[in-house]
C-alpha cells in the first residue's frame, strides 16, 4: 500500500517534471515564431528551459529509482550466485541513498544561501533563483527519501532471504519480465493502429 502510494507520487512528480520541459518547448516555439514574424521579440525561453531541465530532471530521479533505471555496469555482480548478488543489489540501492543524502545537504546549502541573499538571475526576467532551486532541492530530497525507503525494504527482504523480492526492488530490469513487457507494448501499439 505504502509502496503503491510512494510510487504514484514519484510518477506524478516525474510527469510534472516532463510537463515543465514540454511547456518550455512550447514557450520556445512560440518565442521563435514571434521572433520570425518580428511582431514581438522576447527572449525568456532559454533561461526558463534551463530551470525546467534542472528541476524536471531532479523530479524524475525518484521515478527512475522505482523503474530501476539508474544504470549500472554490473559486469561482475550479475555473474555471482543469487545471495551475494542480492547483497550487491541492496548495496547499489544504498549507494544511491547515500549520494542522494549528501547531494540534498549540499543543494540545501545552495538554496538557503540563495534565499538569504535573495539572489536573482541577472537578466531581464530577474528570476528569484530561490524558486527553481527550491523545487530542485525538493526533487533531490524526495529522491533520497525514496532511495532510502527502497534500501530499507530491500534490506529487510534480504534478511528474510526473500531474494525474489530483492530482485524486484533493487536489481536491474531482468531479461525475462522486460522481454514480455516489450512484446505486450508492441502488440498494443499494433492493435491500436489497426
Amino acid at each position: 500500500m505504502l509502496e503503491t502510494t510512494l510510487r504514484q507520487i514519484s510518477l506524478v512528480m516525474s510527469r510534472l517534471g516532463g510537463g515543465m520541459l514540454l511547456a518550455a518547448a512550447l514557450l520556445v516555439a512560440v518565442e521563435v515564431s514571434l521572433r520570425m514574424s518580428r511582431l514581438v521579440i522576447f527572449s525568456v525561453g532559454t533561461e526558463l528551459s534551463s530551470y525546467a531541465l534542472a528541476v524536471g530532471a531532479a523530479w524524475s530521479f525518484a521515478h527512475v529509482v522505482f523503474e530501476r533505471a539508474h544504470v549500472r555496469v554490473d559486469v561482475v555482480s550479475q555473474r555471482l550466485p543469487p545471495l551475494p548478488r542480492a547483497f550487491f543489489d541492496v548495496l547499489a540501492m544504498a549507494s544511491l541513498a547515500v549520494v542522494g543524502f549528501l547531494l540534498t545537504l549540499a543543494a540545501w546549502t545552495t538554496f538557503a544561501t540563495t534565499l538569504a541573499l535573495d539572489t536573482h538571475s541577472n537578466t531581464t526576467l530577474a528570476t528569484p533563483l530561490a524558486v527553481p532551486q527550491g523545487l530542485w532541492v525538493a526533487g533531490i530530497g524526495w529522491f533520497t527519501f525514496i532511495a532510502a525507503y527502497r534500501t530499507a525494504t530491500a534490506a529487510a527482504a534480504l534478511l528474510r532471504r526473500d531474494l525474489a523480492e530483492v530482485t524486484r526492488i533493487a536489481a536491474p530490469p531482468s531479461a525475462e519480465d522486460e522481454a514480455s513487457e516489450a512484446a505486450l507494448d508492441a502488440r498494443s501499439r499494433m492493435e491500436a493502429e489497426s
Binding site: R35, A69, V98, A106
Partner: protein, 428 residues
C-alpha cells in the same frame, strides 16, 4: 593518485553501484584521501550549475521528440518502410539505424540525444524482425556518436572556442568524415552479418506495391527533419531552440495521425523522464568528479606531463591519441576536451598540424570515448532505453564499431584531406 582513482572506480562499478553513485563516491573518496578541503559542499553549487546548463536542454527534448514519434506510430511506419527496402541487405534495419542516426545527427548537436532518439524508435524492432540484440543496439550506440561529428555539434563549438578555430570551418570539415564514418559503420554491419548471418534479422517477402506504399511512412519524419534543420540553417532558431520546434512538429503530426491523446503524452513523458533522470544524475556527478580531480591538481599535473615531453610531430599525435583513448574510457568527452585541449592544441599547432583537422580528430576521439567501457554515456543511454539483459551486451555489440572508429582515426591521419578538402574548396 591515478592508480587509486582508477582502482576505486573499477571496484565501485564492478560491485554494481549505479554509475552516478560510483562517480560521486569516487569524487568524495579521493577528496577524503588526498585533500584537506571538504568538497562535499561544492556538490550543491556544481550540481545546480551543471544541471541548469542551457546547452543540455536539447537532450531531453530530442528524446521526447523520439518518444512522440514512437507512440504515435510514426516511427513504426518509418521502420516498416525501411525494412521493406533494406531487408535484402545483410544487416537489414541496422543500416536504417545508421542512416537514421546520420539524419538525426544533422539536426542535433549532441551524440547522447541522437543515440537516445534512435534507440527509443529502433528498440521495438529487434524482436519484431528477429535481430541479434547485441549488434543491433551496438549499431545504435555507435551511430549516435555521429551526432557530434556531423554539424551542428556542441563539441565542435567548444573546440572552436577553446582553440580560437573557426566554427563554420569546423562544421564544414565535419561533414565529409561524418558521411565516411556512417558508411564505415554500415560496412561494419555488413561484414559482421556476412560472418554471422543469424543475427541479421529475417527478410520480408518483397511486394513492390507494398514497398512503394510504405514510402508514405518516410514523409512525417522527413517533415520534422526539414523543420528542425531548416530552422537552423534559415537562421530562425539556434540548434538548442530547434529541438523545441521539433517537439511541436511531432505533436502536430501525432495529432494529424489522430494519436495525440493524454495517455499517449503521459507515456511519452514517462519514457523521456526515465532517460533524462538517469542521464542528468550522471552529468551532475561527472562534473563533480571532474571538479575534484582538477581541485586536487591532477589535471594540471597531467597537462604538465604532456607539455613536458619532447616528441616529434608523429610521436605527439600518436601519444595524444593514446591519451584520449585511455582518458576516454573513464571521462565524459566534453569534460575531457575542456581540461586537455587548451594545453594540447597549441603543441599540435606548433608541430605543424592544421587546427581544423585536429578538431575533427578530437571529435572522433570523443565519439570513441562515448562507446568505450566502463564509462560510456551512449552505452548507458542505449541500455537505459533497452531495459533488459545487461549492459555487457551493448558493450560487446559496439566493439566492432569501436574498431571502425579507430580505423577512421587512422584514415584521417593518412588522408587529412577527408576533413580539410571541403572547407578549403568552399573558402576563397
Amino acid at each position: 593518485m591515478i592508480p587509486v582513482a582508477i582502482g576505486l572506480l573499477f571496484l565501485f562499478l564492478a560491485i554494481g553501484l549505479p554509475v552516478a553513485a560510483a562517480l560521486a563516491l569516487l569524487g568524495l573518496g579521493l577528496d577524503q584521501i588526498f585533500s584537506p578541503v571538504d568538497l562535499r559542499l561544492a556538490m550543491g553549487e556544481l550540481g545546480w550549475v551543471s544541471s541548469s546548463n542551457a546547452l543540455l536542454v536539447s537532450v531531453p527534448l530530442f528524446i521526447l521528440l523520439g518518444e512522440i514519434l514512437l507512440r504515435s506510430g510514426i516511427a513504426d511506419r518509418l521502420y516498416d518502410a525501411m525494412s521493406r527496402w533494406l531487408s535484402w541487405l545483410p544487416g537489414g534495419l541496422m543500416h536504417a539505424n545508421i542512416g537514421a542516426s546520420m539524419a538525426f545527427a544533422a539536426t542535433s548537436g549532441s551524440s547522447v540525444a541522437t543515440a537516445a532518439t534512435i534507440s527509443v524508435v529502433g528498440a521495438p524492432m529487434v524482436e519484431r524482425y528477429g535481430y541479434g540484440e547485441r549488434l543491433f543496439f551496438g549499431s545504435i550506440a555507435a551511430g549516435g556518436t555521429l551526432g557530434i561529428l556531423i554539424p551542428p555539434s556542441i563539441n565542435l563549438i567548444i573546440f572552436g572556442w577553446l582553440t580560437e578555430t573557426s566554427v563554420p570551418k569546423l562544421y564544414l570539415a565535419g561533414f565529409l568524415p561524418g558521411l565516411v564514418l556512417g558508411t564505415g559503420f554500415s560496412l561494419t554491419i555488413l561484414l559482421v552479418c556476412l560472418l554471422r548471418p543469424a543475427i541479421g534479422g529475417h527478410r520480408i517477402a518483397v511486394d513492390w506495391g507494398e514497398r512503394w506504399r510504405s514510402l508514405w511512412g518516410l514523409l512525417p519524419p522527413f517533415a520534422i527533419f526539414v523543420i528542425v534543420i531548416g530552422s537552423i540553417y534559415a537562421g530562425i532558431a539556434t540548434p538548442t531552440e530547434s529541438a523545441s520546434l521539433g517537439v511541436v512538429a511531432a505533436l502536430v503530426l501525432a495529432a494529424l495521425h489522430r494519436r495525440l491523446t493524454v495517455p499517449m503524452i503521459l507515456a511519452a513523458l514517462d519514457g523521456t523522464m526515465r532517460s533524462t533522470g538517469m542521464i542528468m544524475l550522471i552529468v551532475m556527478t561527472a562534473w563533480f568528479l571532474n571538479f575534484v580531480l582538477a581541485a586536487l591538481g591532477l589535471i594540471s599535473a597531467m597537462n604538465g606531463a604532456i607539455a613536458g615531453m619532447d616528441l616529434g610531430p608523429t610521436g605527439l599525435i600518436l601519444s595524444v591519441i593514446a591519451l584520449y583513448l585511455v582518458l576516454g574510457m573513464f571521462m565524459d568527452p566534453l569534460a575531457m576536451m575542456i581540461v586537455t585541449v587548451p594545453i594540447i592544441a597549441p603543441l599540435v599547432k606548433d608541430a605543424g598540424f592544421d587546427p581544423v583537422w585536429f578538431g575533427i580528430l578530437i571529435v572522433l576521439l570523443c565519439e570513441t570515448a562515448l562507446v568505450t567501457p566502463p564509462i560510456g554515456m551512449n552505452l548507458f543511454v542505449v541500455q537505459g532505453v533497452r531495459r533488459r539483459g545487461t549492459i555487457d551486451d551493448v558493450m560487446i555489440g559496439v566493439a566492432p564499431f569501436v574498431l571502425c572508429l579507430i580505423a577512421m582515426i587512422g584514415l584521417l591521419l593518412v588522408f587529412p584531406q577527408i576533413a580539410l578538402w571541403l572547407p578549403s574548396a568552399l573558402s576563397d
